[in-house]
Amino acid sequence: MSWIKDILNPETRLWEEFYRNRWQHDKVVRSTHGVNCTGGCSWMVYVKNGIVTWEMQALDYPKLETGLPLYEPRGCQRGIVYSWYIYSPLRIKYPYLRGVLMDYWREARAIHSDPVEAWASIVENEEKRGKYQAARGKGGFRRATWDECLEIIAASMIYTAKKYGPDRVIGFSPIPAMSMLSYAAGSRFLQLFGGVLLSFYDLYADFPPASPEVWGEKTDVAESADWFNSKYIVAEGSNLNMTRTPDAHFAVEARHHGAKLVVFSPDFSQVSKHADWWIPVNAGMDGALWMAVNHVILKEFYVERQVPYFMDYLKRFSDAPFLVRLEKTGKGYTVGGFLRANQLEKYKDAENGEWKLLVLDERSKEPRMPQGAIGFRWQSQKGKWNLELKDALEGSEIDPQLSLVSQHEDIAQVSFRDFAGDRTFHRGVPVRNLQTREGAVPVATVFDLLMAQFGISRGLPGEYPSSYDDEEMAYTPAWQEKFSGVGRETVVQLAREFATTAEKTKGKCTIIVGSGVNHWYHANLNYRAGITTLMLCGCVGVNGGGLNHYTGQEKITPAASWSTLAMALDWSRPPRLMNGPSFHYVHSDQWRYERAFPDYHPPDGPFAHEHFLDLEAAAVRMGWLPFYPQFNRNPIELAREAEAEGKKTPREVSEWVVEQLRAGKIRFAVEDPDSPENWPRVWLIWRANALHSSAKGHEYFLRHYLGTHSNAIADEVAQDVLHEVQWRDAPLQGKLDLVVDLNFRMDTSALYSDIVLPSASWYEKDDLNTTDLHSYIHPLGAAVPPCWESRSDWDIFRSLAEKLSELARTHFPSPFKEIVTTPLLHDTPDEIAQPTVRDWSKGECKPVPGRTLPHIHVVERDYANLFHRFNSLGPGIKEYGIEDHGVEIPVGELYDEFANMVPAYEWSGKRYPSLSDVRNAANAVLFFAPETNGEMAYRGFQQRELQTGLSLADLAAGERQIRYSFDDLIRQPRRILTSPCWSGIVNNGRAYTGYAMNVERLIPWRTLSGRQHFYLDHEAYLAFGESFPTFKPRISLENTLNLAKSPAGPRSLVLGCITPHGKWHIHSTYSDDLRMLTLSRGVEPFWLNDKDAREIGVEDNDWVEAYNDNGVIVTRAVVSARIPRGLCIFYHAPDRTIAFPKSPTRNHRRGGGTNSVTRMRLKPVLIAGGYAQHSYRFNDYGPPASDRDTYVVVHKLEGKPEWD
């Protein structure tokens, strides 16, 4: 290369400055993206001349313990293009109001000087109301002023509170963890008002119901660094490369460190590419495979030989040794409930004796009552709620007997249901006949019943499979083939590898799981089957082990202090919090399109309601689930009426309400949801795409909530199977008077709202961010001030509060009372309220608030001072302290210490710590949280010590002096402290893993037995046959009703439609981003198999229509050999605003998005309440809105796409 000359003359190199000059900036500010991606990555934002130019990943996470790889690089393709939004043409720069409504409003305001009267004149005029509703989503926005918009919103809220009650005003914002104070802004405002906050985790079906079933916990999982500690990783329904983008490197590093990575996925997904072993399991059928894995493990690692580590683990940390009653039936026996301690003479006087369980002691062969069951948690004598294997009465050591197989008194033929094969097996189970207060009762251990359930005969008589090759008998490796599509040898090999690795490493095997498995109707069973494997192999609570479920950035690490601020508990309690799935299922009238659930999910005995809505209403009546609006009456009027009747104390008022309910003078709103007084009226949406990506059954939202066009054609089919809830024939369109969206971009929700308020973007505000995937807390920072007329969420809700208080001076001048109902809650004594299921409305028991029906509270509101309350940290935090996971931490003098740190806010002659500036609010969260204030952690552990009688405070002793402030986080992300509210131990850089504290420090799980549960004995679980881990196949096409009116024509295919998380967006955010669209196909495409495509004449990039009775999607096809036949993928959840043409099949209307073809379906068994771990907690419990069992017809779009 001698001909290439070295250029040495500096003159000729001066031009290089051209590129150097591009790399200039004035400042660099730390922020992140509040987008529910679970990444929670810290970013450095570059600013030049007051303009955000670009962003780069932060590289300064504190290190974890030696040996663990670094967290960085963290940050993905979506995050790195965020700055595009700030100055994009999609940016909401000003407040917008739809023209139709603006005209009506200005007209009304010219006549009515009072804004509330003006609002009344519009919404009480059916014609006007219908017109502005029909205009929703169809353009016609006009720029408005902040003042005008705030006035409309405040007026509508006051109007609604007066006319119907504050519980007709609802708010939705998901995932507080992504920007905690922005969430808290709206929730605090709403709770001070008495509005309803809707949950998100269960609405997204991201919440895994198996987690409370087994562990009494919403979700508690390892940070991604802990994957590195694993030696065997199974990833299912979780496409790590795509959806855990910044964490995926740990999986590769674990592999390089010796772990095996196994992936279950129907398509050859991005993570499959990285796997050592890809197992192409049929979509939604993972559970069958795990059931057979358990069959093999039980046979080879528990019968053919025993593994001491596994046996010991089950005895100490699971319900396996606990005794279950067998009930005599015609042909033999069936399983019943756990034998309760007070059923034995010896323990009959035990406090909460029906909430304490029994085991047989190996040495004495006698029943013993181990500590740790839920009865010990709520008894007066504290200190026995722990996992020490001691008899609570005598204090003697217990060695629990797992199996009676070698010492049985009898063999009982017990019936077991096989739902996939629709048959019942009778299998021999070894029993003891135990003398109880009601005579001799046959009992068996959970372990022996589990052996029978999984078909491991151990030489016992009965219908047991003959071998692994038995194709007929559940749950052999051969049996599962027809469901999972996976060969038996594969299952046997997987089981052996998994258990052998767990044996050698003492549990360092993990299942990483996500929405691909969790979004199915039978998600809880799919999960429990895998969790059973983990429990059988001693993997839970071990670093490198456990069920690592990642779906949604649900972990609000400083939850205890945050919830006090966010729910305004410092001023009033309880808050109105409702499970989103039930709310939308009922109010968006999706129930009207659903038949009887026994069609696809038959129960035995009780719970044989035909329609889910009847069951929902029963659950509300019995206090299992919340529901708002509460009654068909205004709760403010009710309180007034009670007072007029001379009821003074809260107790008297509550009894009066019960009397009215019993007399039928008032009714629960859920019992007649379509009656206009029971409709939700005003909806505030912020940090959300509530009308689209969060709207399972989106087309029904459009029709029933908004009253605008909809592409749904499904028939209403519920009337004949509805027995208790009132059916109304009237066409129900447009329940909502006003929809308000706070947004920085014109997404689908903004497009369909009445008012759009410009909110600050993620580089224009200060906030806090945490995630499940790492153990740091770090900030969003204002790199530039909010652009144009945008404001931070905090400031928007402060402005709204100010306006509301202003109007309230006329309409609600002084404080007043209202009635608030709440369900029976987890982590309170409510969870031992209902040992048996009794419906007071049917005379089965007495109506007792907080026991057999919801709690009924009297709450004081002060609208005229709502703004002041918002701005000041109220005295409630000092009085009640903070609480999370049942740990109550006193605040005491720390309140005053905090008051000295921040400016004061003074009103009505009193001084409070000011929250006006969001940074002070952030500092309040940090200052009172045990995860960021060592003293609070220490105090929390002291409380836990009192509850458990264990020594625990040493976990926080070394960190008592630590106090993180917002400024600290701006400097560098900080690692959280070991907290009494969580179960991981993170001292000395140890990676966080769920339940380490339960296993190592013997704190009970928050379940019935205090242990992890294989067996669930709530009556609903017995009725639906889900007491044991079991398998139920996907809902059939026929039973989904998806295609009742959408037949497949020629050259079309019926395909299962799944919507996993995509590569070029986080939910809908970034789906409209130019860079993301450029790197993909310019539109969110529809993926299908090459052979399927050929069959219907579709070539790559052709336009296709995909439709069913719920709606239609029109987009381009991606044809790929990567996709299996019979399945199509439409990645969740692009906005329907970008490049989607109209649908010739559906009246030439604009095609929709992901949720246009879905309708939510709630699983009845998951409503159980008032019973140990089956108790409600906001976002932590309840039936998820499942939507994955969806089918569509796909065909090529004929001719050119229609646009206008």
Partner: protein
């Protein structure tokens, strides 16, 4: 010349998850300007696939790189005299369609739409002409085996190593494999782009081996585009000059030596 040091960039192909964060870091910093819309100095390809620009590896078509002839290296594109003949018409150049026509959308329609009887939508338009367009190509069009019967199946490398029956079996779901190939300029030790440049505008820096196109000297002949076998030199249609990866010229970032694509 004496290359005294050679800075190289290494991508760990077993760790690469095809997320394209590196591409975007680079895009945001360097090619977010008129004339560079279609340029991706750093891009990531799914292999098998046809890449960006399409079939760039097919040197029968593009004639990039070197050939060894009689023990001597010469440009596959031809000798200097041939080059001069073709200087005004170079048949070995990829056209915009071989890359893709950069597009954007009528985003403002969503905010400004007049009242109508259906929902407004943002339609795609060309960044070159401003006209409405059908999107038929992109810089990452065959990502994750999308369009595999058209793209992956026509990967020139696959054609070379498998017969037809092997290729048929390869595209059965359970036989499939793919991986990601992140690509920037290799800053070759013996860069054919430098050799191809009639203006002497491209040089390799002796102190670190970085290959740069002088924006002063470049005359826009585009021989470098043809000469590079990786198609990693691009033509800025507005400036009329060639541009390429600058390996974030050393010393550019005072805080630490770092490329845009590295942390990503």
């Amino acid at each position: 010349m004496d290359v005294r040091a050679q800075v190289s960039m290494v991508f760990h192909l077993d760790k690469c998850i095809g997320c394209h964060t590196c591409s975007l870091a680079c895009k945001n910093l360097w090619t977010d300007r008129p004339g560079t819309e279609y340029m991706w100095w750093n891009n990531v390809e799914t292999k098998p696939g046809t890449g960006y620009p399409i079939l760039y590896e097919d040197q029968d078509q593009y004639c990039g790189g070197w050939v060894l002839e009689d023990g001597k290296l010469r440009l596959k594109l031809g000798s200097r005299p041939t080059e001069l003949v073709n200087i005004s018409f170079n048949p070995r150049l990829p056209t915009l369609d071989d890359y893709y026509e950069p597009f954007t959308y009528r985003y403002k329609e969503l905010i400004d739409a007049r009242p109508s009887d259906d929902q407004p939508v943002a339609r795609p338009i060309s960044m070159i002409t401003g006209e409405e367009m059908e999107i038929e190509a992109g810089p990452n069009w065959d990502d994750d085996m999308s369009g595999s019967p058209i793209y992956a199946a026509n990967d020139p490398n696959l054609q070379k190593v498998m017969n037809e029956e092997e290729r048929r079996r390869f595209f059965e779901l359970q036989q499939l494999v793919y991986f990601y190939l992140p690509r920037i300029c290799n800053h070759c030790l013996n860069p054919s782009c430098v050799a191809a440049c009639p203006s002497g505008a491209i040089y390799k820096r002796g102190e670190d081996g970085i290959v740069l196109v002088s924006q002063e000297k470049c005359q826009g002949w585009r021989m470098c585009v043809s000469g590079c076998p990786y198609k990693k030199v691009y033509f800025n249609w507005e400036a009329g000059k060639a541009e390429k990866c600058i390996l974030v010229i050393r010393g550019l970032r005072p805080d630490r030596l770092q490329l845009a694509c590295i942390p990503a």
